[in-house]
């Protein structure tokens, strides 16, 4: 408690009881799992709405509504991320990267959705899984394109003098295979957790000031901060989805070609 403000402990902000399944079980389904499920369903519904025959024909019509939204997002991922970082060869990875983008964006956006107010990625589990899958994916792409030489090409870039290899190889090994997935996961998790804590802080402050007679004058400023930060968190939700996806795309692109 600081100046009469009782801030909840961190575990109260991010840990949720299971909706079904025993506590501490490997299949316990809690609020975070529900957010992940909604992200899956919402993305599927959005794409299915956009892909209805009625909205698809004729092909020459300008896209509207859900179709416009989905086509804009897919076009952004395809042209703004994949073509820019990998090139046209990378378009085959559109399903994986689009899944990453939509899954992260929708789980993030739950930060500002009433009754949820919790970004799915403010828990380490989601980012860790996505980073791990991305890690496996770009290694698999590397092996597919370069064979087992991929591992050596990744840690010993072309043009490095042999005398420097003992120094470069451990650094590259660490940065490519350890730091990449770790930084992907921690960046997403830390940003969303920080935003969540900020919003909770100002919400608690507003609630406390509402009942404090003298400090009531500060309430409008606190409330304005809360509104502003909510808008900021929407931007962060999009930005983090974009950053995760573009980095995954860069890693996949670097696995495709030895010279990268």
């Amino acid at each position: 408690m600081i100046f009469g403000l009782e801030f909840p402990p961190i575990e109260n902000l991010v840990e949720w009881p299971n909706l079904f399944g025993p506590t501490d079980s490997w299949y316990g389904f809690n609020k975070i799992a529900l957010i992940n499920l909604v992200a899956l369903v919402a993305t599927a519904v959005l794409f299915l709405l956009a892909g209805r025959r009625k909205t698809l024909e004729p092909v020459t019509n300008a896209p509207k509504g859900s179709r416009n939204l989905v086509e804009s997002a897919v076009g952004f991922i395809r042209d703004g991320i994949i073509v820019e970082t990998i090139g046209p060869d990378g378009l085959r990875y559109l399903p994986f990267l689009a899944s990453l983008f939509f899954f992260i964006l929708i789980t993030n956006i739950f930060e500002v959705i009433p009754f949820f107010h919790m970004p799915g990625n403010a828990r380490m589990a989601g980012p860790a899984v996505l980073a791990l899958l991305t890690w496996v994916y770009f290694i698999a792409v590397g092996i597919k394109h370069q064979g087992l030489k991929y591992f050596w090409n990744s840690v010993a870039p072309a043009g490095v003098p042999k005398a420097l290899l003992p120094l470069v190889v451990p650094i590259e090994l660490l940065s490519t295979f350890i730091v990449r997935p770790f930084s992907l996961a921690v960046r997403l998790f830390a940003n969303m957790l920080a935003g969540h804590i900020l919003l909770v802080t100002f919400t608690v402050l507003c609630i406390t000031l509402w009942g404090a007679s003298l400090l009531l004058a500060v309430l409008p400023f606190s409330f304005l901060m809360l509104v502003g930060l909510t808008g900021f968190e929407i931007m962060v939700a999009f930005l983090q989805a974009y950053i995760f996806t573009i980095l995954a795309s860069v890693y996949i692109g670097s696995s495709m070609h030895a010279e990268h």
């Binding site: 575990e11 299949y27 992940n36 794409f47 698809l56 020459t60 828990r123 589990a125 899984v129």
Partner: protein
């Protein structure tokens, strides 16, 4: 004194041991809220992989098919527009070339017509001038004839009158031919004056 210190030390050690035991127990029961939990990882993996599969086989193909179709249509339309533009430019060049030819031909025709007109004009002017000159010469001849005739008639009349008057005065006939020459010389001299 020493006994008191030993008792205090024993109490402190006991308290420290109890605190350590309590801390160890807490560490076993309290979870780190930052570390990922297995159940959340499990569901995140299930739902993401399900989305990935749906995206790959169901959701994206219909969208990308339409987008590719539209891209192809736009590309074809652009190619058709480029072809139409090239055709337009070619036709424009052809039209301009024809226009330039027609213009040159028109200029040539105008120049030829003008030259022909000038020649015709000159011919007609020359003919008119010749005709006028002929008419003028004819008129001059007629005038000269009339003048000669008038002079002759005048000379005759004057001679008749003068000779008649003179014969009446002198009461004798005069040489009409000689008097006629004198009168004619006088008339000619008067005509020259």
């Amino acid at each position: 004194m020493l006994a008191s210190i030993l008792v205090l030390a024993t109490d402190a050690a006991t308290t420290a041991t109890d605190l350590l035991d309590q801390a160890a127990g807490d560490a076993k029961t309290v979870k780190n809220p930052i570390l990922p939990t297995v159940n959340e990882m499990f569901w995140a993996a299930i739902f993401f992989i399900a989305l990935w599969a749906l995206m790959k086989f169901v959701l994206l193909p219909r969208i990308t098919k339409v987008m590719d179709g539209r891209t192809d249509k736009v590309r074809d339309d652009l190619a058709a527009a480029d072809a139409a533009e090239a055709e337009r430019v070619a036709k424009l060049e052809q039209y301009e070339a024809g226009l330039a030819g027609a213009r040159a031909e028109a200029v040539a025709i105008i120049e030829a017509s003008r030259a022909e007109g000038d020649a015709e004009r000159r011919t007609q002017i020359a003919a008119a001038e010749a005709e006028v000159a002929a008419a003028r010469a004819e008129a001059a001849a007629e005038i000269a004839d009339a003048k000669a005739r008038a002079r002759s008639e005048l000379t005759g009349s004057i001679t008749d009158i003068a000779v008649g008057a003179a014969e009446a005065v002198i009461q004798k006939p005069l040489d009409r031919a000689a008097q006629g020459r004198i009168v004619e010389d006088y008339v000619n001299a008067a005509g020259q004056n």
